[in-house]
Amino acid sequence: MSQELLIETELEDEVQPWEYLNSANLKRGQKDFEKDDTQIQNSTLQDSLDHMYNALSVPRAHTVKQNVKAYYQDGQWRSELKGNFMQTMGVVRNDWCYLTEEEIIYLVERGTVEPIWVKNGQEVTMDLQSVYAMCATDLVRYQVYSNLKRCGYIVQRYTPRECATVRKPWYLPTMFRAVLRRLDILNWFIFPAFTSSWLKSKFLTYSSIFESIRLQFKPQRQAAPTYPLDITFDVWKPDPRFTKKSPPLPDFQIVIVDVSSTRFPTKNQLDDLFKRVEYQGRSQESLSEAQGGAKEKKRLKDGSNCVLFALVDNGVINYMRLSQGNLSSANVIPTKKARGPTQRTTK
């Protein structure tokens, strides 16, 4: 296989050996391609498995001092007003911090919170399986939530916001431009494309040739989609100044997809979704106008109104970034004019 076919793989693509769980630099372990039934292969495998089972068996424990109790009663989870997580999670009401389904599972699973079943004034410490059973209604949503939390992000359920009006750069109104073009005497002699007289036009530049063959698309009326897409989460990069009461605009927004049951959205659904997204920097996107060079390239590739799709396949999560493109704004027409005969003799 030639070099140019190789596709980079990431650490997440391969199952990593658990021996590296505690090492500072996670490098790729040496795995085999084929079974060779050697004693070494078998014992290495057993070692790896033992490492993994040992790590899995470490009890979910913490000290009484660090412990935060959360009580399950009447279908709701409320925790004590204690712990760092309160800066970004839960809703405080009547001296309790009420947690959503994904928040409680996450906090119990990572060992921060002790889940307690309340019955007739008596309390029983619950276990992880019970917490899942009692409140998990959407595990796909939970898995994306905890994946992002483990990376350090602040994650909250989506709150619809009014989208800031996008400040469009000031263009000469189209009609005015058309009139200007008409005044350009040199364009009087360009005949309609796709006709026999087109080749008699006086094209001075490649630009004029390309422009003349452009198609006029009919403007499309957009029907609202039957099943609009739901934005599930607002996500912020870690921020020590974040407050639950008045959070800033999120850094990005997440739509969750279970790939076993959902197909890619239709154009209708996407257009409708792009109208609803709102995040830091969105309204400034179209301002960085064609300045040429690296900035324009980046703008062209980034698009506008971006949203992240979290794809979940049986517990495995991959993210896809979608945005609206506008390749027609790119400046790719060659500008070099053809040089003709000069009055003077050529040097």
Binding site: S2, Q3, L6, I7, Q30, T38, Q41, N147, C151, Y153, F194, W198, L199, K200, S201, K202, F203, T205, Y206, I209, F210, I213, R214, L215, F217, K218, K237, F252, V259, R263, F264, P265, T266, K267, N268, L270, D271, K301, G303, N318, Y319, M320, R321, L322, S323, Q324, G325, N326, L327, S328, A330, V332, I333, P334, K336, A338, G340, P341, T342, Q343
Partner: protein
Amino acid sequence: MSKRTSLNAKYPHALPVHPIALPELILHNPISWIWFTICYIKSFPTVSRTVVQFKDGCFAVDSPEEMMTLWNEGFFGKGTMSRSEPTWYDRTQKRLGLGEFKNLTIEEITILRREERKKFKRERAQLEKKQKELKSMGIVDPFIEERLKLKELRDKDITIPLERETFIRPEDDVLVVKGHLINIEQLQLQPCEVMFLEFALQSVTVVTDGVALSSNQLLEVLWPTKSADDSFIVKYVVYHYYRSLGWCVRSAIKFGTDFLLYNRGPPFHHAEFALHVVPNYNDTQKNTATAQDFTMLSGLNRVIAGVRKNLVLVFVDIPTQEEIDKAGSFQDILSLYSISEVLLRRWVPNRNRD
């Protein structure tokens, strides 16, 4: 001369239709004005006309000059015996020792690369064999030195030989007539390229069995069904749209999708965008039935990202069959469609990314 200027000099024409060349206008000189006006009136765009043969379902150009014209003036088509630009003639001349030595073609560079890779694989296989032997004896891997040597081999740049060896095969007899190499390579064109050259640029005549096809006859060949979502018409709308914006549009089949967009052309820049065409019907049910699969798109995204390009989903709004049937000219039909773009990219939740 910079690379950019030399490329512009080598490929001065972006299309087979050229703008008129006018003399410089010296504003304060009235004679210059007169001369300019005369040239303006007398000049018309020059067109590099070519003939395309339609035979056995393929569109091909076999005249060597016309092949080069279509390649040089917009990078249309693909050499049937080359990777893209038709270079079979040059390569074979060198191989048979008939011509002068010029720069290496991409095919030749690939061959050299593959030879180096084979060498690397041989050494690696030997290393693995040694490892396996030791393993069965219960010893694990001391070969750090050998591994380093392998790494060197892999990272080494290919060495370009100063002299090209000739390599003649018995079957080469048929290729040489009276001491000259005959050209058996053709430039093959895709249906949308032919349509664009014939309909939009009017620079090509399509001939089948010695008879020239009219525009309508060509359309009949390319789009016999006349159905609104026929893959020819949907792809043609996309091809025409991006070509008219100035992009050089070529096939992306080797990446598992529809088109690649080049800024100016392959010799100038690597392609930046890969287009995946998605028909969008007015009918929700039909859209849901033909919806793309996330897993497949995820895989495609990965391939495209692996070659450092950007994936663009190009949605094409499909008109109803009635609208198509009612429309007059081909141009009217094309206006019934419209295009919108959705950019797709992988996102990794590393804190430093956007």
